[in-house]
């Protein structure tokens, strides 16, 4: 194995000629596979092209550091784009490296290609001409939109013609309600192509799963039609972005859509009891269901760091002859959640299960397990647009 390749496999990026990136990559891999019997032999693995959109070199570096955990589960050609159109000096530069891992002792290293392209100034307009030829033929192309910006710059729209899927993180949006509405409009205009996935939606999947499980039993299923109150507490620690609020809105829209609730109003913003100056107000929504009115409160809390950026607890109350309460609370340890079902005259049913707080890559790996459109998410976004229309 040549020195050049060896250093790449150890993750050291090498500056490459932007106009001949494919040829440079091919040459490197050829030298690696010629030495197939060597104990340092490597296998080039690729199941998709992943384009990562970032807007700062710092963000680009962050993504580079995360790629190892991504390619372990999803071998891909990862192409990190650092797009800086506002810079005065125009230029395109590129680095290539490899991300490798050993599946098991004694086996060959499995390596994925990692290309970073920095586009500055006017050169950002030519980004598509560099990126499109680097898409691996015959394999899906996904975009990980790692930016709080919800609109795509012009050259990126040309790239989008060849993209199967865009993965956003609405948790990075500064104004989640308005921005989710924009995403919803775009999905409707594009007819769902490329498909859109949202890491902030994926963050609440385990919570939705646990809530759904509360109503699988024939004893508890009827309560689903009699829910009168929903209370969502989420962690809000005064940062610029509000993943918890977006999650709360998505969760509410999901419940409303699944249970056929009609939006009746958006109440005054809820201020949590005991709020301090500077606390951010949550949201309240009211709906009409088959069995009456439903009130939903989204309440931000300063505490709860141990639960990660997201929900701290959920409580659903249902009315009826025997009113019931279904609650889920993040435990003292960030990895667990305790669910509790309380029905008068019965022993409460309580259990504690794992609730992994996944980082971005963990969430991305989860999303990449699915290859189809998430139509439920698209439906939920439509409802979010209704709920947040001013």
């Amino acid at each position: 194995m040549g020195d050049a390749l060896e250093s790449l496999i150890w993750g050291q990026p090498r500056e490459a000629n932007v106009s001949a990136l494919t040829a440079e990559l091919d040459a490197l891999w050829r030298s690696a596979t010629e030495d197939a019997e060597s104990p340092n032999a490597v296998i080039r693995a690729c199941a998709l092209t992943l384009l990562v959109y970032t807007e700062s070199e710092e963000a680009g570096r962050e993504v580079s550091n995360l790629l190892g955990a991504l390619t372990l589960q999803n071998p891909c050609r990862a192409l990190i784009m650092v797009v800086r159109p506002e810079e005065s000096a125009a230029g395109l530069s590129a680095w290539i490296s490899a991300v490798c891992h050993l599946p098991a002792p004694g086996e060959k290293q499995v390596c994925c290609e990692h290309i970073t392209i920095v586009a500055r100034g006017d050169a950002a307009r030519d980004l598509d001409k560099v990126v499109i030829p680097l898409m691996v033929s015959g394999l899906p192309v996904y975009v990980w939109w790692r930016s709080g910006r919800r609109t795509q710059p012009e050259p990126f729209q040309k790239i989008m013609r060849y993209v199967d899927r865009v993965i956003i993180d609405s948790g990075l949006f500064v104004y989640p309600e308005a921005d989710l509405t924009t995403i919803s409009d775009r999905i409707q205009r594009s007819g769902g192509h490329p498909a859109t996935n949202d890491l902030n939606w994926a963050r609440i999947t385990p919570w939705r799963e646990l809530v759904a499980q509360c109503f699988d039993s024939e004893d508890t299923r009827p309560y689903l039609d009699r829910i009168s109150e929903v209370r969502v507490e989420y962690s809000e620690r005064g940062a610029d972005v509000n993943p918890g609020l977006g999650q709360g809105v998505l969760f509410t829209a999901w419940l409303a859509g699944r249970l056929g609730w009609q939006l009746a109003g958006r109440g005054p913003q809820a201020v949590p009891p005991g709020a301090r100056q500077g606390d951010i107000a949550g949201r309240t929504f009211s709906f009409k269901g088959e069995a009456g009115d439903i009130g939903v409160k989204l309440i931000p809390r300063r505490e709860g760091e141990e639960c990660g950026a997201g929900f701290l607890s959920l409580k659903l109350k249902a009315v009826g002859d025997l009113p019931a309460t279904f609650s889920l609370a993040c435990g003292g340890d960030r990895n667990v959640v305790t669910t509790r079902t309380e029905i008068p005259g019965r022993q409460p049913i309580e259990r504690t299960v794992r609730l992994e707080v996944l980082d971005e890559i963990g969430l991305l790996n989860e999303e990449l397990k699915f290859s189809n459109r998430d139509r439920l998410y698209e439906e939920v976004l439509t409802l979010v647009a209704l709920m947040t229309a001013s």
Binding site: P206, A212, Q213, L255, D333, Q347, R375
Partner: protein, 516 residues
Amino acid sequence: MAAPSVLTNPLREGARIRRTPQPCAMVIFGASGDLTARKLVPALYHLARERLLPPGLSVVGCSRSPYTHEQFREKMRQALKEHSRVSEQDAPIVESFTKNIYYLPVDTGNPSAYGPLAEFLSELDRDHGASGNRVYYLATPPSSFPVIARHLGGAGLARPGGAEKNWARIVIEKPFGHDLQSARDLNRVVTGVFGEQNVYRIDHYLGKETVQNLLVFRFANGIFEPIWNRRYIDHVQITVAEDLGVENRAAYFEEAGLLRDMIQSHVLQLLSLVTMEASARFEARALRDEKAKVMRCFRSITAEEADRFAVRGQYIAGFVAGRRVEAYRSESDVDPASVTETYAALKVFVDNWRWADVPFYIRSGKRLAKKVTEISIQFRRVPHLLFGNRAADTIEPNLLSLQIQPDEGISLKFSAKYPGTMMQIRPVKMQFQYGESFGAEPPSAYETLLLDCMLGDNSLFTRNDSVELSWELVDPILARWKEDGRKGLAFYEAGSWGPSEADSFIERDGRRWQRL
């Protein structure tokens, strides 16, 4: 696969959230045994930890041993420490899981022991909201299967509440009988009490991810199915080799032998997956219908034909993985003059339009050169050789290999021109390895199968007709071997690929076993 038990919950519609069963009580008979501690409880714990089990699930261990609830819980906590990945952080989850484990001493042969069990389960229903749903797991010796089934039926535990919305399922471990007649007897009793749709005959082999992937490979790819037939395939080999001996199962194995232990169950199931037609839907009944349909086409082998279609062997001392191992006859609990086969090879034909005259060579054995399970599909040679004799000598037929374990993957061997001015042809291999393309850890076979059972999805469980059809194939061979005794039993060195008679067996047809 369809999950009828959860469709009524609108929160599950259209969601990517995973299937979870309705609340139920799982009753494990033989709970003080190894299987419960090593496999069942760890599998249930992992499912619970991953939020795949419902709130209100309770586990009730039953056996003769006089444990209290707390003693049994402690035993299970210990089992989790030893047999599953439990970290310090998981302590609250372990506590929550084991809190719902109970124990009831039950003498399974005594019908009056089932009354208290029924009462106890009713209490759990009330406290846990299990609605009368039950899974009975028989981790007991096979002789207890019909006894427990009958007594459960007698105590009204097989059809709880008599209501359609409640369910009771019974899981039984192989062997499902020791010959055709005993399998029929067992089926009659168990299906008589529970109904066939509620009988889950567990074969952990079928829970393996790569076995399930066989169906995906065949029926989700357009390019293989058109050539998956007698016109293009010369023959198929299925190898299930183990480097281990009989370990602590000698007493059982002495009675059973390799043909019953491996081929009648696992290998014929694999064969049915390779040869079946596509079902209309990926749904239990349709899949199992297709499997049974093709098994009806397995050509019978009469006792008189057994020598031509089967070979048996027994290992003698040898070396496995650099370690000297003793002969089968020297293992403890084995008769020093035992004629039990530890190796068997069969040639099976599938008499239908797709497979007429294509031989399926099956081999399985203990103490072979390595642990490997592989299905090798050898295609026919090209009809005309245009590269001249010298080049033609090196043309090997295409070979599609489906590696089930350990290195799960798929490879295709084809010919390529060696670079240069001469026409030299070399076989090359195109390889797909699961570990390279998907880093995700698959669930264990028991996790998959236990969850499927609770969900009411019996696709990966063996149906009564399949069990009986597989016994129909092997019964005459077993009868002949029993009659022949020592005569015809070949010996092979431990650590080899089986007896030389097995090589001659396939070479008679102008073929060779694949080097694995």
